[in-house]
Symmetry: C2
Subunit: 583 residues, 2 copies
């Protein structure tokens, strides 16, 4: 049997657990809980679910992750982008507010969990590598923008159709400018101000006043809670919900979620599969990225396979709690870390506090205006909209920058799911395109040395009767015709050519298509009176070739050990080597 | 204006056209026409169309190709695999025998033509490179097998449902063994015998008897025509169509197709797009492959872009003639070439003869049994079933062989369209997988030279404090995390490590994801007290890096011109170099 610490990283941390570590964890746990309660409710709205479902997703999943996760300070729970994806996915099958809608969310959690565990079982976690930095960056910015725009509804009190594309949302807004509820807008803007003030001015102020950290830190991170308090008090005090129609959260059922109420719906799984895969991959990618950054600050590393398991089980926990998928969030994890979380005990404390608030605090949220939750969402996603990343990309690599831009635009137009799929498609198409055009260099001898270098970059000597070509890539179906055409074109450009030497020191394998092309090439060159030779063939490739009749097929062509050897033998009757630069 | 010969290769050939060339062309034209008439009718049945549609597809498209094609001896017209694909595509939308069915076939021709011309316009002909040799080979064998199996119907006289998967076809056959029409079976087997006899025995016999080539050659290639004659005579003589229910071709309308009767149906185009793309690509690939083989026998080359235009226009010609898509076929092209075709005038002659037979010979086909056409099809596709290719592939490269086998099985199970798409998907997934695991070598100094080689293959000297790694691939999103993990793992395996040198002589570009990973790697290594250096960075990559802050970001890390320089500087305080083999 494997030792406990192998399965449960927390067992390892608890071996040296001390009072001081617990106090750090307690502090971080409290601070995260203060953020988590309002954010959880807000993100549940974003996913189209009643607010308590965000809190349900913040108890059992956190505890399960705390047991299994390899990151000490990753804060798992409802996150903005996954909430948007859940909302836009389920809106296609079910009406918001119905049992079918909630059931779809639960099935989605189950599917996300199962997919993550399958990826672990098949050792396929590296599949996320195919989502390039540019695609993720364009996707995140666009999703954050979509989330921010979706909150126009909560700020204006207008009934903007949920699934409308952004231009229709704006169209609706401009058509109904006079119908905007000014009280709602005022509450929303006030909440934004409270959030901004707490995050910037208040923090600096407390620091300047040298307030002790254990007081200053919770106060700084309590912006969402302050906004909730201020918003609720304004509505309650001014009876705005009655006199001015400001929409509030209203009655939240007190108590814990019922466990194990899942209705499996395998037909639904077919429709949910692709969204679930994307939610799983993006959630996993975000969690691992954040986890890696935080771990490296402690000079530790996280284990991606353990993360697959931990996030998979956490999502099964979501399904068990009857709520929607979770992931490791960027914002709260940063707060958790900087608040001093030493182990995942901090997350357990957060989960426990959310549980307490579900048991005792829900009546307090009756007057909480939705506009305030909208403000919490907008302030949380604005940092995700990142234009500087495009600027940097553009300077470095235009193709990446254009992929980023295309993904950004496609997500805005077609929505998160189709948008990111198109983005991934574009980046893979670019990769295939690049792989179909390998770098090939005509090389010549450097001085009288044994070195051969690209004639375009170095002052080298070439020969009239022998052409040496270095192929800087493995040979396979996607590039083999390009290589063939390149060689035939070179032949057309050189009269008196008798030999071509292919330098294969960068060829790590040759596939069947390439072998066939090479065999045909030998024949075509022979028709023109040119012999094909190979040089510097790597061991494994040579073994491969010896399994076939290729070497016989070369006829007079040889396989040379070094390019130097090849050139000395083939051009020995060549009395006047041609100096490339002077030719 | 571009000269005529640039647009019409035939104009070039006609400049030196002589009587002797014409006689060769005439001979080849006649021989191909003798094959083409029965094959055309048979393939039309395969596509689910009345037999005359195969002849319609053998007139205008051939003439158009003859004007525009760059291959002297490619024989364009109805081909087996495209016919199968047309049949299985349209069966999904329309009932055989209806106007809707024929209209779908015509729209498919139009779409194939348009797609080929668009590929030319966008210079995207190289897209066929993504269909690897293994995929095409597996696909062709499976399609040929499917075609052969589909003829059980014509041989047995049983009414096997057309779109049934193969196991159901066999099931139907075994359930109805007693219902097999013995007369039909007999006619079919007789036809097979005639075809086999003509192709093998008769040919050798004539050769042995020293019959002049101009007689022997047409006779040898007239197998299908002989089979048609024998089959028709048996049915007519024995009145088998009446007494034994042998199905015959029956009445074929005499006369030419009506031109320009296309009913555009853009809604249908959405459904037809993917099949049309596949038919276009496979047709183009087969035509170019055959054309290249034939051209190289004359030491000529064909021009793939001209072929895209010529095949595109030929398919528009099919659409204009109200019939289904055409391509350059393997079998008839070989016959055309070996019969001595010198220019595409041969194809014009074939087309003219098909035209004549449509005008005058159709009544003769009244008694032609479908079983004979089935025999013509089966004998034409059997050579396409190629198991030796799998054996060769298996010896050379297991992954290719498995791709071939998977494509073969998937085509048999899911049909041609989905099967080949899965095959292409598999080969691209393998390519992506390989590209995500680049070859990285730890290198050491060879003797006291300036050369550094893989420590696993050569006897080299390494240093305790400096690790030199050569990355044999460009760095991009799909492989960047693998490279990072490889390096971090190497660090864990070496204590006392102070420097890592990345040798980038095979790195042709770095994308934004890789740059970000490298920047993170610098920080992670710095945390462990290790400095990252680069060596042998190529010019274009260095230019790219200088556009960013990466070089500053390296801190104490340097970019060395050569590995030798790097190792001399970094390991200078290292008094005892470690010899790898003795370590």
């Amino acid at each position: 049997m494997r030792p406990m610490v192998d399965i449960f990283p927390i067992a390892h941390w608890l071996q040296n657990y001390q009072r001081s570590i617990f106090i750090s964890d307690l502090m971080a746990g409290i601070i995260v809980a203060i953020m988590l309660v309002p954010q959880g409710m807000a993100y549940a709205f974003l996913a189209g679910l009643p607010p308590q479902y965000g809190l349900y997703a913040s108890i059992l999943p956190l505890m399960l992750y705390a047991l299994l996760g390899s990151s000490r300070s990753l804060a798992v729970g409802p996150v903005a982008i996954a909430s948007l994806m859940v909302g836009s996915t389920i809106a296609q099958f079910a009406e918001q507010g119905t049992d079918a809608y909630i059931n779809a969310a639960v099935n989605l959690s189950l599917l996300v969990g199962v997919i993550l565990l399958i990826l672990r079982a098949l050792n396929l976690g590296s599949i996320v590598n195919y989502m390039s930095h540019s695609v993720i960056s364009g996707f995140t910015s666009a999703a954050a923008l979509l989330i921010a725009i979706s909150q126009i509804k909560n700020f204006s009190g207008l009934d903007i159709p949920r699934s409308a594309p952004i231009w229709e949302s704006f169209g609706y807004l401009f058509d109904h400018l006079t119908a905007i509820n000014p009280a709602t807008l005022l509450v929303g803007l006030t909440s934004v101000f409270v959030l901004w003030f707490t995050k910037t001015k208040l923090c600096c102020g407390l620091e300047a006043m040298r307030v002790p950290t254990w007081i200053a830190q919770p106060v700084c991170k309590a912006g969402p809670m302050f906004a909730v308090l201020v918003g609720s008090i304004i509505v309650w005090g001014g009876e705005l919900d009655i006199t001015h129609n400001v929409t509030t959260v209203g009655m939240i059922p007190t108590g814990l979620p019922e466990l194990f109420t899942i209705q499996l719906d395998l037909m639904l799984w077919q429709q949910l599969f692709m969204p679930a895969l994307l939610i799983a991959l993006i959630g996993f990618l975000e969690s691992v990225s954040v986890g890696t950054v935080l771990a490296s600050k402690r000079r530790e590393r996280i284990d991606p396979s353990k993360e697959l398991i931990a996030l998979g089980i956490a999502n099964l926990g979501s399904a068990m709690s009857g709520t929607y998928p979770v992931a490791g969030g960027f914002g709260r994890s940063m707060v958790n870390h900087s608040a001093g979380a030493q182990t995942t005990v901090a997350s357990m404390i957060s989960a426990f506090l959310v549980l307490l608030s579900l048991l005792f605090l829900t009546p307090l949220f009756y007057y909480l205006p939705k506009a305030t939750l909208g403000a919490v969402i907008v302030m949380a996603v604005i940092p995700l909209i990142d234009f500087s990343s495009f600027r940097q990309c553009w300077k470095f690599n235009k193709a990446d920058a254009l992929t980023l831009l295309a993904t950004f635009i496609l997500v805005l137009i077609f929505g998160v799911e189709l948008g990111i799929l198109c983005g991934i498609g574009i980046s893979i198409a670019l990769l295939l395109y690049r792989s179909s055009q390998p770098h090939i260099a005509v090389v010549g001898r450097v001085g009288s040395s044994e070195h051969f270098r690209n004639i375009e970059r170095h002052d080298v000597t070439t020969y009239n009767n022998t052409l040496a070509l270095r192929i800087d890539e493995s040979l396979y179906f996607a590039n083999t015709r390009y290589v063939e055409e390149y060689i035939l074109k070179q032949c057309a450009g050189h009269s008196n050519l008798q030999h071509i030497v292919l330098i294969c020191n960068a060829v790590n394998f040759i596939d069947a298509s390439a072998l066939e092309t090479l065999e045909n090439l030998v024949l075509k060159l022979r028709d023109e009176g040119i012999t094909l030779h190979l040089a510097e063939v790597k061991g494994p490739v040579m073994d491969q070739l010896l399994n076939t009749t290729f070497v016989d097929h070369l006829g007079e062509g040889k396989v040379f050990f070094t390019t130097d050897e090849a050139m000395r033998e083939l051009s020995e009757n060549e009395r006047y080597p041609v100096n490339n630069r002077s030719a």
